[in-house]
Amino acid sequence: MTVDQVPTTPATPALELSKVVKSFGAVVALRSGTITLHEGSIHALIGENGAGKSTLVKIIAGLYRRDAGTFRLRGEEVDFHTTAQSKAAGIAVIYQEPTLFPDLSVTENIFMGRQPTNRFGRIDRKAMRTEADEIFARLGVSIDPDRITEGLSIADQQIIEIAKAISLDARVLIMDEPTAALSGVEVERLFAVARSLRDEGRALMFISHRFDEVFALCDTVTVMRDGSYIATEPIAETSVDELVRQMVGRDVAELFPKLPAEIGDDVLVVEGLTRTGVFHDISFTVRAGEIVGLAGLVGAGRSEVARAIFGVDPYESGSVRLGGQALPKGNPRVAMARGLALVPEDRRKQGLVLDESVSRNVTLAIRNSLTKGGLLTNRAENAAAAVWASRLEVKTAALDAETGTLSGGNQQKVVLGKWLATEPKVLIVDEPTRGIDVGTKSEVHRLLSELAQQGLAILMISSELPEVLGMADRVLVMREGWLTGEFPRSEATPETVMFAATAEKEDAK
């Protein structure tokens, strides 16, 4: 690590990243990360899911090491190998999910690793406690410093993260979507704290999907897209429309050719589905041959709705009808038998048995029908799997290769194959192309499109706007557990969908 001693002047940025690159194997997560934070200023970083924001944050935090580009802190070039180094350099990162030790007290959580000690190295609990009281008094919050952190609300946990940053006297504070799980009052409290930290001359970076918050809190905004820096502007000189254009700005139609399909009768009818605190009064239909996109931000409750429909999660009121027949609650077995298939969000954990062979995975959902006289033979499995592997063009060395050795895209094809083998009437796909390369991505899209042509009803949950706009015949939008928009293909534009997904929550009800 070379340290060029540059005298710090007020004009020197607190933190400066320029053309930072980070890739994981063949996947480039960050093409050109550029951002400049100044002291006494709050800087917003916005972009779609997968734009590279989190990777950028992790590089600043010392969790990842950059492959190329420059990273300066108060004018000095730095290169962090560990989170301890970035912390020592005065950077505090508050992650979306607070990271606390549930079994330890609030005070210990704030000071862990750098507790005040006396001459003999003994932790000075009294001093530690006093300092915690002082920080909480300054933040104007009342959290019992002696209680353990288990059971604290997300908002209080975030306050503890901020208390940590203050006790560190961090000069640079990064907040990665801190408001995602907060209520209106809690957001106000957080903003008040953030402003006072700014006024003390600290540099803050704020990542959020909510434009109202960005405009209410921040001084400058940087937009990222597809791992690249797009633009930085003072907040006063930009607008929501402008930002949305910069975030989405790409030719959507060309990427995903949607084949025309004949749209038939209602197959899946969901009415008034509600689960308190998760989703409310969700009603929609999906027709044969139709692809319905379900858009929204991460955490809007889309996957939860899909899981409730399929019967994995409970719901309190409402109904699900499949092909005219009511579907019982909480019974995935019946849902499968009636022709419902769910390709889950996390294919490695929920979609596949990674240690098992490709053919085992493909035949997992139909193994009962392959069984003869109570026995399931490799031959029957391989024969059934071979059909789907060739139809989906799964690239694997052999059908008995471990599924974990396949690429992400091919793994996703195996999951699709598993469910298509059950010959479903309705296919729910949750983030079907997350984390897979561009080539396989368009193959998956073509496949979904062909399936719709053959009369399958498809509900596609996706956080990628171009995917939703390119594929869906109709777009539903969810925000914070409510259905906030429904657009036919002709009316669904990046602007309308993004607005329905992000606008202030006051008009959500």
């Binding site: 030790f101 079994d103 330890l104 005070t107 009294k126 019992d144 059971g151």
Partner: protein, 346 residues
């Protein structure tokens, strides 16, 4: 767990604090009461259990070696790991102790102690390195080293054994001697316990063991030296098993290749009974130490109470399950209480 020397807090949250800290207190007082109850009942049935010179000595002496091993084990468990190899480490160092006295006549006792501790520490370090660097669960690694260390022991010892006559009288005196009616072994064990418990409560490094066990990935994000602490935990566990091995030779005089077999499970049992959560982050070394006393005192009390040999193990098993169920109930009650406080605060 929570600071007791804290100045009076704001009225509202202090009620919660008291509730929480009382629960923690209840955990350790619970085992002490259980231990006292066992002693009282056994003494009523047979007064010699406590009120004879031998009875009192055995009460203190028998669990002392297990206490050392349980303290090391508890430190490892607090970091959300486990050390199954301690019984084999104890056996190897006990045999090493005998060999040193036989092969190097006149070797100073203190050198033997240091050699035993150092040897145990190295064996522990091997465990720690495999766990911390190879990222294989400790359960698997230390199950492997349990067999490897025992295998080395058998290969080295063969059908040979160390006999009491091979050991110098001064050394054997340590195993049976007393100072003011307190066995020397007990004094050593309690001294180790006091130091280790103080470190875990009062030093940064000590608190970091708890943090790592409470949430390993958060510990990583905090920038805590996770690898170093895990190495240290296994090293201490090995060193204490090594010390226990030397003392085992002093106490029993006879060391075969099977010395210490099964001690790992007793040590884990002691820690769990004493309130050390098997999932890490919770518990105290004092709890584990009292757990060791409870476990072995029950073992000695059951024959006096006329309970047949083969039921004794079942009683120990019931005790372990009972302790875990108790922990679970307490944890549930606590999280419910914390949730209520949170709802009221709205």
């Amino acid at each position: 767990m929570t600071a007791t020397a804290a100045p009076p807090a704001k009225p509202a949250p202090s009620a919660a604090t008291r509730a929480v800290s009382n629960l923690f207190k209840a955990r350790e007082t619970g085992i002490v009461i259980a231990l006292l109850a066992v002693i009282v009942v056994a003494t009523i049935v047979n007064p010699n259990f406590l009120f004879s010179a031998d009875g009192f000595r055995d009460l203190l002496l028998t669990p002392s070696l297990l206490l050392l091993v349980a303290v090391g084990q508890a430190i490892v468990i607090i970091t959300r790991n486990v050390d199954l190899s301690v019984g084999s480490v104890l056996g190897l160092t006990a045999y090493l102790t005998g060999r040193l006295f036989i092969d190097l006549p006149g070797i100073p006792i203190i050198v033997v102690f240091l050699a035993g501790i150092a040897f145990g520490a190295i064996l522990g370090l091997v465990n720690g390195a495999l766990v911390a660097f190879a990222k294989v669960p400790a359960l698997v690694i230390t199950l492997g080293t349990l067999y490897i260390y025992r295998g080395v022991n058998v290969a080295w010892t063969g059908s040979d054994r160390i006999n009491a006559s091979d050991l110098p009288a001064d050394f054997r005196g340590l195993g049976t001697g007393q100072i003011l009616y307190i066995p020397i072994l007990t004094i050593i064990a309690v001294a180790v316990l006091v130091v280790a418990a103080w470190v875990l409560r009062n030093l940064r490094s000590g608190r970091e063991f708890y943090a790592i066990g409470s949430d390993p990935s958060a510990a990583h994000l905090y920038g805590l030296p996770v690898t170093r602490r895990i190495l240290a935990a296994f090293l201490v566990s090995g060193a204490l098993a090594g010390l226990a091995g030397v003392l085992y030779a002093a106490r029993y005089g006879t060391v075969s290749s099977q010395a210490g077999t099964g001690w790992e499970l007793q040590a884990i049992g002691a820690a769990v009974i004493g309130g050390v959560a098997i999932s890490g982050g919770v518990g105290t070394l004092w709890g584990a130490a009292i757990g060791a006393y409870l476990l072995l005192t029950i073992n000695r009390a059951l024959p006096i109470l006329g309970i047949q040999d083969f039921w004794q193990r079942a009683v120990v098993g019931a005790l372990i399950i009972g302790a875990i169920v108790l922990d679970r109930v307490l944890a549930l009650r606590q999280s419910r209480k914390l949730l209520e406080i949170r709802e009221e605060g709205r």
